[in-house]
């Protein structure tokens, strides 16, 4: 079986994946979320990023604070193979990160044909939009937090067409988060 590319995002009940100014302080995380995240990373061997999400993550995970607060996830995030897609970045200094400047779609097709564990994309709204429209995302994992924030950046807001999904499964967490998994059905109004 070919490995899959999955997209994972936390989203508020009102449909935002970030508040204003990239605010993610509303993320509703606890030990159970942590176990879920570790398990998900264990099944993943490559993470894809757009520039902005990459820079946020690269600023956080290598720091002593991250390693102290979240040693297991920090170790995984820092050692995992990563690709950042950007035409403006000069270099990518975060450990085990490759900078790809063009042909993102071909890069992913090539990557998917190679053997390995799953490939993840977190955040990275613009890059995710490209991949969604190219039909490259095999699984959408949307974790709905039981929180309303009122304003922010909408989930998949860069796609102007209607996106129809096919439901795969759901799981509820004690924190009140609900993980909804889907496949892409079609984009557009037909």
């Amino acid at each position: 079986m070919m490995r899959i590319l999955y997209l994972f995002n936390l989203v508020t009940l009102d449909g935002f994946f970030e508040g204003l100014n990239h605010d993610i302080t509303w993320h509703n995380v606890d030990d159970e979320f942590h176990d879920f995240a570790v398990d998900q990373l264990d099944k993943t061997d490559t993470i894809l990023f757009g520039r902005i999400t990459y820079q946020m993550m690269a600023r956080y995970w290598p720091t002593p604070t991250a390693i102290k607060n979240d040693p297991i996830v920090a170790l995984k995030m820092n050692s995992m193979s990563k690709i950042v897609f950007s035409q403006t970045l000069q270099k990518a200094d975060w450990n085990n990160t490759r900078l790809v400047k063009e042909n993102a779609v071909e890069e992913i097709l090539k990557l998917k044909r190679q053997p390995g564990k799953d490939i993840a994309i977190f955040g990275s709204a613009r890059l995710a939009t490209t991949f969604i429209k190219s039909g490259l995302i095999d699984e959408f994992r949307i974790m709905v937090n039981p929180i309303v924030i009122g304003s922010g950046v909408p989930l998949f807001g860069l796609i102007k067409e209607k996106i129809k999904l096919k439901f795969l499964k759901t799981s509820a967490f004690k924190s009140g988060n609900v993980l909804l998994s889907y496949q892409l059905d079609k984009i557009g109004h037909q």
């Binding site: 909408p154 209607k162 609900v178």
Partner: protein, 185 residues
């Protein structure tokens, strides 16, 4: 004390657009069961007029399914209230037109004994939300991202936390998320 329940179809990105709905038998049956737990359905003018135009005549619709008609029968017979200062009269069966302030009226209604109160229209629901009158949210999340329309929670300012009660999945891929309003401390 009665509970005020908001029951509504939404998209995965939080829009309450009724055209997102996969209106199959299971969805109608779900709403029929919700009506079984309800003794008064509440409406603002816009939703009321939309409903009044269809449900009393559902039996004339050649495309209406068995589950649609079961739902129609329940919806037509259940007590209803419409809050409006502008409409002249409410002709849908068993409907009371209420001209006084909806927030105060419903706050008092909640203090009385009985089954649940149900709200489904987005505008009036938004006012109830901002007055902390909604006790439970029954959100039927359809497997679609629409990117535009009226946001369900657009009236809430600042961060609001809800408590997840349970989830149910329908065959169509609709996931029903039920939440309770956290008590304000």
């Amino acid at each position: 004390m009665r509970k005020l329940i908001l029951g509504i179809n939404i998209s995965l990105d939080g829009f309450a657009d009724h055209t997102v709905a996969i209106a199959d038998d299971e969805l109608h049956d779900f709403y029929s069961r919700l009506l079984d737990e309800t003794d008064i359905a509440l409406f603002g003018r816009v939703t009321y007029q939309m409903m009044e135009n269809y449900w009393p005549h559902a039996h004339e619709d050649p495309e209406a399914s068995r589950s649609t008609l079961d739902f129609a029968d329940k919806f037509n017979s259940i007590p209803k209230m419409v809050f409006s200062g502008t409409i002249e009269k409410a002709e849908w069966n068993n409907t009371t037109l209420v001209r006084s302030n909806a927030m105060e009226y419903v706050a008092r209604l909640k203090e009385t004994e009985g089954k649940n109160l149900l709200i489904g229209g987005i505008k009036l629901a938004g006012s109830f939300m901002s007055h902390d009158l909604i006790d439970e949210y029954w959100l039927l999340v359809h497997p679609v991202v629409v990117g535009k329309g009226r946001r369900l929670f657009e009236n809430l300012n600042g961060l609001t936390r809800l408590r997840l009660l349970d989830t149910t999945t329908l065959k169509s891929g609709v996931v029903v998320l039920r939440y309770q309003q956290e008590k304000k401390s």
